[in-house]
């Protein structure tokens, strides 16, 4: 069946119109893309970190028999942070999302409070501030992960409000701020892994990975943030390696649980006495944030 000339003209106009709109919007999307993409990456990174915190705090507070009612809060807050992260990760809106922002601030404050609780737990035991208590009392670095999850998310929300051209955070170029944030986050996480791998006497050579690769990534990222912006291929590679270290670490922790007496059949003991399975993904999370920050940083003026 042939269509009339009017119909063909109509279709052509419509197609031309769609192409014109598309051409205009794409240009606008390309200009908006980078800092929003960076925000979304930080939302997702925050989500991954929150997932790690949710699982880890739920397990460890279960081990602690939820003896203090406050111990229910971190898994709950981490869940909210996780959901916020999923939501924000899919969201292209160039504006702070009020609810997500509030959740992220909640996470940051909970992480802060948690650090206080954990510090008290360490200090109240015989020996106070000692290797023994750093190893076996409430882990000081764990609430910091929740604090970081909140910080990454809050940064993401603040960034959305910024103009596409030369966005700024904390009184400095946004890429610099985010690079510092994720760089410090990587360093802190590496310190926590160093402490616990020291407790494990570095009995397996792979345990040196999280205390060498992430610190190197952190140093390179901090350097990239503090010096003149330019392409940083080494920082990118080491950050990608860090991302890998997180996932390989998770697999190695799973193997480590199996290596304990009774293996996986004895999961009710070995999940808790063995290496913490939820912990290593935090490196992957921070690596993702670091890579996003680096991309933003590389394009900045100063």
């Amino acid at each position: 069946m042939t269509l009339s000339r009017q119909t063909w003209t109509g279709v052509a106009c419509a197609l031309a119109g769609v192409a014109a709109v598309a051409a205009i919007s794409r240009r606008r999307r390309t200009e908006r893309l980078l800092h929003i993409e960076t925000s979304r990456a930080f939302n997702r990174s925050s989500a991954l970190l929150a997932c790690s915190v949710l699982t880890d705090s739920a397990m460890e507070h279960y081990r602690g028999a939820f003896s203090n009612v406050a111990m229910y809060v971190p898994p709950a807050v981490a869940t909210c942070s996780l959901l916020a992260g999923f939501h924000g990760g899919a969201d292209r809106t160039p504006a702070t999302h009020t609810v997500r922002h509030a959740i992220y601030w909640g996470a940051t404050l909970t992480g802060l409070a948690g650090t206080g609780f954990h510090l008290y737990n360490v200090m109240k035991r015989p020996g106070g501030w000692s290797w023994q208590n750093l190893f076996y009392a409430a882990p000081l670095g764990a609430p910091t992960a929740l604090l970081l999850s909140g910080a990454l998310g809050a940064a993401a929300e603040r960034l959305r409000n910024q103009p596409a051209h030369e966005p700024r955070l904390l009184g400095m170029p946004a890429g610099k701020a985010l690079g510092l944030l994720s760089g410090i986050g990587l360093a802190g996480t590496a310190i926590e892994a160093a402490l616990l791998h020291f407790r494990g006497s570095f009995q397996h050579k792979a345990m040196y990975a999280p205390v060498s690769v992430p610190p190197a990534a952190s140093a390179l990222l901090l350097h990239a943030s503090l010096t003149r912006p330019q392409p940083r291929w080494l920082a990118r590679v080491v950050l990608q390696l860090t991302w890998l270290v997180g996932w390989i670490g998770t697999a190695l922790h799973v193997r480590g649980v199996a290596r304990h007496h009774g293996g996986w059949r004895n999961w009710s003991q070995n999940l808790f006495n063995g290496p913490p399975v939820p912990a290593p993904p935090s490196f992957s999370a921070l690596a993702l944030a670091g890579l996003a920050a680096l991309r933003l940083r590389e394009g900045e003026r100063r």
């Binding site: 081990r63 007496h261 009710s268 006495n273």
Partner: protein
């Protein structure tokens, strides 16, 4: 009130037999122990009765639960002649000590009450045992064996050691029981692993019993 009502009502280590807390060799060993017959294999009938009565006084088991075959376990040990790897020089070897001691106990009982030990009232039995413990028994029936030493080095360790090697006794005291490969996670005070006994706080016995029924 029963002075030694268990603080761990409803707790049974045997519920963990098929969990990672028990392994094959432990199941075998404990099954053998629980199957110890309550009849003499070494002692004669008369001494057996004295031993049964003695065990009942040293460890007065609650009547409202299955009994630990205490006398049977002691007799089994005498059958196997399983020593400790040492003995006080002033005591005769394991079997001889028990043969003399049980006989002497009956003779001391007859001398005072004209009845063998097993036929006495509980109070009289306890009195006689206290006298043995404090060195007040020294008739010739002891054949030179120090009755106090017999009490402290044979009666108490052999009978109490047997009792607390049995799962029913472990249940009573809330002991975690066999632990291989699954040991313990929570080492802090006032923390129990889900496979450990729940202690009944005053007024909360029923809740503890329900929780203990599920302990696995």
């Amino acid at each position: 009130m029963n002075p030694y009502t268990s603080r761990y009502p409803g707790y049974d280590v045997l519920n963990k037999r098929d969990t990672p807390s028990w392994d094959a060799i432990t199941r075998k060993v404990i099954a053998q122990r629980m199957a110890t017959p309550s009849e003499p294999g070494f002692l004669d009938v008369v001494r057996w009765r004295a031993l049964e009565a003695l065990c009942a006084r040293i460890v007065p088991q609650p009547a409202d639960r299955p009994q630990v075959p205490l006398a049977g376990m002691v007799d089994m040990r005498l059958q196997k002649n399983a020593g400790d790897g040492f003995r006080y020089a002033r005591l005769p070897p394991l079997r001889e000590a028990w043969l003399i001691g049980l006989n002497a106990l009956d003779e001391e009982s007859k001398a005072r009450h004209e009845l063998p030990f097993a036929s006495l009232e509980h109070a009289a039995q306890n009195t006689l045992l206290t006298q043995m413990q404090h060195g007040e028994l020294s008739s010739s029936h002891w054949k030179g064996m120090d009755a106090t030493l017999f009490f402290s080095q044979r009666v108490l360790p052999d009978i109490c050691g047997a009792y607390y090697s049995h799962p029913y006794a472990w249940n009573e005291i809330g002991f975690g029981g066999p632990a291989n490969p699954r040991g313990y996670v929570r080492m802090y005070y006032d923390r129990r692993d889900p496979w450990e006994a729940v202690e009944a706080k005053p007024g909360k016995e029923r809740q503890a019993m329900e929780k203990n029924r599920r302990v696995r």
